[in-house]
């Protein structure tokens, strides 16, 4: 095991949604290279609390890259410099001793800051509520093997479904667009037979909700794919655009007399 590391942190501090924020400089000393980025922040916070100062607010839960809770911009990059990695799975051995590291929250109009490094990503839930589901009630489903699904379709559906809903795609996009997130769900369900009946309607509603919530447009920068910790491909966006195009063509007719989400 290599020796301990020291860092200069520039942490974003913001009291609440309406207050102005600013950077606070804090030293992180004696950091083991085997610590995760969040464990390093834990140490910094413990030191602050020992001095009676308020710890920096940041969120995490699973700490293994699956829940999508952690959400830090590290040196300008959502989830930090390592490709395909959430910040909770980023280890300090990836940083240079003595390095200055800036830590900021997601920055997007649709994700307001709650405090320090914590943002409100409720907008993603609203996009799902608008159509990111198959409308089946519990009970009465047919046998699971009654409908074979081509393995390649099931695999592509799973690739898209691997999205953890962290929002790094939005944070990385110059327009703060939620295209990749929305497309991933549309593509997941659209690749399965169970998702067919609502395919166009789903695209129409989810995209409309996304626009309504103040996410920007996609101008093909593909920063989202680069930042995605699950490496979800922008090809799903093309799929979404197809479904959306279809729905625009046929959708309005079918929608008529059928109001209410779901």
């Amino acid at each position: 095991m290599s020796g301990k590391l020291n860092f200069k942190l520039r942490l974003w501090r913001q009291k609440d949604k309406v207050s102005e924020g600013k950077f606070q400089e804090v030293e992180a000393k004696n950091i083991s290279p085997d610590m995760s980025f969040l464990e390093m922040l834990d140490e910094v916070n413990n030191d602050l609390m020992r001095k009676g100062e308020e710890p920096v607010a940041f969120e995490s839960d699973c700490r293994e890259g699956i829940c999508g809770t952690c959400s830090l911009v590290v040196n300008g990059l959502p989830h930090g410099p390592e490709k395909g990695t959430t910040v909770c799975q980023l280890f300090m051995r990836k940083f240079r001793d003595g390095q200055t590291i800036s830590v900021e929250p997601w920055r997007a109009a649709a994700f307001p800051v709650i405090k320090d490094l914590v943002t409100d990503r409720d907008a993603f839930d609203q996009i799902i509520a608008a159509g990111g589901f198959v409308s089946v009630n519990t009970g009465g489903a047919q046998d699971a093997n009654a409908l074979p699904v081509r393995k390649c379709d099931a695999d592509t559906a799973m690739d898209a479904a691997a999205c953890i809903g962290c929002g790094a795609c939005v944070a990385a996009c110059p327009n703060a667009s939620a295209m990749l997130f929305t497309a991933a769900k549309i593509s997941h369900l659209g690749h399965l037979p169970q998702g067919q009946p609502e395919r166009e309607r789903r695209a129409l509603r989810m995209v409309a909700k996304m626009d309504e919530l103040g996410f920007g447009n996609c101008s093909n920068h593909y920063e989202c794919e680069a930042a995605c910790p699950k490496e979800i491909s922008v090809e799903h966006i093309a799929r979404m655009n197809r479904d959306y195009g279809l729905s625009a063509l046929l959708g309005t007719e079918r929608e008529r007399g059928n109001t209410g989400a779901g």
Partner: protein, 637 residues
């Protein structure tokens, strides 16, 4: 107090079917008039919330997370069991029932387990209908893998992300009901008390985690689906936010806590590497389909694994348990890994690890097949340890993973507090003293999709539920006690972050109430825990104030509850002077070191009644009877 399990009469195969017919129904128009609170939106809570809303109930779902999709269920990796028998390898409802009762070392209720096995097949149907992308074969049909404690392949999976996909299915169903206006979601709200009116659970007190405001919510019934308490050990595979607060506060209001000492130590986790660690990471049990567990035969053999020839390796599970091999149940695998390390055979820097080796499987199937099956797990391992598991064997060691104990519930999933129902890992049912792999997801979804929608209706239809508003004195009292506790935490202004006490508690729990327990150690723990608790209340540092987004306050509150609850867990372990499943009392073992049960004295559920902090809880026993599976010494040899 008589613990009535309310198990319906009749032969075991008919109980659930007949009982459903006998239950009272509520007509569709009246369902809307019943408000139901669901706390927790993991697999159990989300599936229950969605289904109850579909039926027409007025559902209010609460989670301390920012979204239901973050619940700890999302982290489940390996799979979900169901008695589909698609591989035609001899599975059946009865076999799943039998395996689960035996796997739990004969400490679960037969009737509950049978119902679970029956429902298991419907769960898979339901999830597929929702669009859960389970793994498939080239023919387009669903693929299965094997898990510990079974000799059939009955585990359905979605790569290494089964929990994620099942939770997203339930979450999407839930969000659909939100969109339809059938369900109100209260995210970032932590439940801090249950409100009891005239002996019935009629509401909850929550703290809005953004503003710090306390809120009162009333309902006709309350459902808790708040997950397990594994983090009482501090280090575990559970998410950082998992905690015991909801069930512990309900316990203080009268719900009995059953079998708290039944904790599961999972054999395949990435070993502890230093004291900075905030959690441990699981390597799914599915890896034991293809990985082989071994240690060097000679103590102190420091050669790198590739330099150790076959003849110097000890594949201890394959050797000791030829019929189950690497797929013995978790408690057995964990205990054997510990024994090997205790004998000085452990590997790695700390010597507290054994190898999980894929080289044979890679030779047989090729690297790409292994990567398709376990890619994300290998990736995670490489990130954490900085080693490539395709080249060198993984090093693994047991870690706390799951809690079989929980609030006592009857067959209807109702606790001893009328109106309070408990689902998923938060209740004690179904897994006895050891849970088989891939059975927690099954149980959580069985409870939420297929049990509670029936039994709750029956409860509401057969009980008088008077009108209650949040002006009732019981709400004011509960809110005051919540506020007092928060104020007390903020008033200490000591110099130590709460996590330091959590680590101290965890160390006592692991050292004296972990994989092996004995009388002297447990006594010691019973003396130590109150001391840690007292120093916590003297020295803890909780910064900031209550009317704010204050994570230090949230965390301290949860740790304060663990410091009370830990004592009950140890007391239960102390009182149960037998070994069973994951509860291993060194005084009670067979000549070849297997768990030795004492059916004469301990064939019961231990349900504890709260008597006050630091007071000895009162024990109530629910006897267990076995009519369909014979009580025998468990053997996997």
């Amino acid at each position: 107090m008589i613990l009535d399990s309310k198990i319906p009469p009749g032969p075991i195969e008919r109980k659930w079917t007949d009982y459903r017919f006998d239950m009272k129904l509520i007509n569709p128009a009246n369902k809307r008039k019943h408000k139901v609170i669901v706390v927790g939106t993991g697999l159990a809570g989300a599936s229950a919330s969605a289904t109850l809303a579909e039926l027409g109930y007025n559902v209010h779902a609460f989670t301390f997370h920012d979204s239901p999709r973050r619940a700890h269920s999302i982290a489940a990796q390996g799979g979900i069991n169901a008695a589909k028998n698609y591989p035609n390898d001899g599975d059946s409802v009865h076999r799943l029932f039998y395996d689960t009762v035996k796997g739990g070392d004969f400490r679960a209720r037969e009737a509950n387990v049978h119902r679970l096995a029956e429902i298991s097949t419907q769960i898979i149907d339901q999830c597929v209908a929702q669009g859960v992308p389970f793994a498939r074969e080239y023919g387009g049909l669903l693929d299965n893998r094997s898990f510990g404690g079974a000799q059939v392949s009955r585990t359905f999976y979605a790569r290494g992300q089964t929990g994620q996909q099942l939770l997203l299915g339930a979450y999407q169903a839930l969000m659909r009901q939100v969109g339809l206006g059938q369900l109100k979601l209260h995210a970032r709200q932590e439940m801090l008390d249950v409100v009891v009116v005239d002996g019935q659970a009629r509401g909850i007190i929550t703290r809005n985690l953004v503003t710090g405001a306390l809120e009162r919510h009333e309902a006709d019934a309350v459902i808790l689906a708040t997950g397990g308490y594994g983090r009482v050990f501090y280090l575990s595979t559970n998410a950082a936010g998992s905690n015991v607060t909801a069930t512990w506060r309900a316990h203080k209001r009268g719900a009995l806590f059953a079998n708290p000492c039944y904790t599961q130590i999972h054999p395949t986790c990435i070993p502890v590497s230093g004291d900075h660690q905030s959690k441990l990471t699981l390597m799914s049990e599915s890896l034991r389909n293809d990985g082989r567990v071994w240690v060097p035969k000679k103590a102190g053999d420091v050669r790198s694994p590739d330099q150790i020839p076959e003849s110097d390796r000890w594949y201890f599970l394959e050797e000791k348990y030829p019929s189950f091999g690497n797929l013995v149940p978790r408690d057995v695998a964990s205990r054997n890994a510990k024994q090997a390390c205790d004998q000085g055979l452990g590997v790695g820097e700390t010597r507290l690890a054994v190898y999980l080796d894929f080289s044979d499987a890679i030779k047989r199937l090729g690297e790409s097949k292994i990567s398709e099956k376990y890619g994300n797990l290998f990736h995670m391992y490489a990130k954490i340890t900085d080693e490539n598991p395709y080249r060198v064997p993984m090093r693994i060691y047991p870690a706390v993973h799951y809690t079989m104990g929980g609030l006592w519930v009857d067959y209807n999933l109702m606790s001893s507090l009328p109106g309070l129902h408990v689902l998923g890992e938060a209740n004690f049912s179904d897994h006895g003293a050891n849970r088989l792999g891939a059975s927690a997801l099954m149980q959580g979804l069985a409870d939420g999709y297929f049990v509670i929608p029936y039994t709750l209706g029956n409860y509401l239809a057969s009980n008088k539920i008077s009108k209650v508003t949040t002006d009732h004195a019981a709400f004011a009292d509960a809110e005051r006690s919540v506020k007092d506790r928060l104020d007390k935490l903020l008033a200490v202004r000591g110099g130590k972050p709460a996590v330091e006490f959590h680590k101290q508690l965890g160390k006592v729990m692991w050292d004296y109430c972990g994989m092996a327990r004995n009388e002297a150690g447990l006594k010691h723990a019973l003396q130590e825990i109150p001391k840690i608790r007292e120093s916590f209340w003297r020295e803890v540092s909780v910064t900031g104030h209550g009317q704010d987004f204050n994570q230090a306050l949230e965390e301290a509150g949860r740790i304060a509850d663990f410091l009370e609850f830990g004592e009950l867990l140890v007391l239960d372990a102390f009182t149960r002077r037998e070994s069973c499943g994951g509860h291993f009392r060194e005084e009670s073992q067979t000549p070849d070191n297997e768990a030795l049960r004492d059916d004469e004295n301990y064939c019961h559920v231990a349900a504890w009644e709260y008597k006050g902090v630091g007071e000895t809880s009162a024990l109530h026993k629910e006897p267990l009877t076995f009519e369909n599976v014979h009580l025998t010494q468990r053997s996997y040899k």
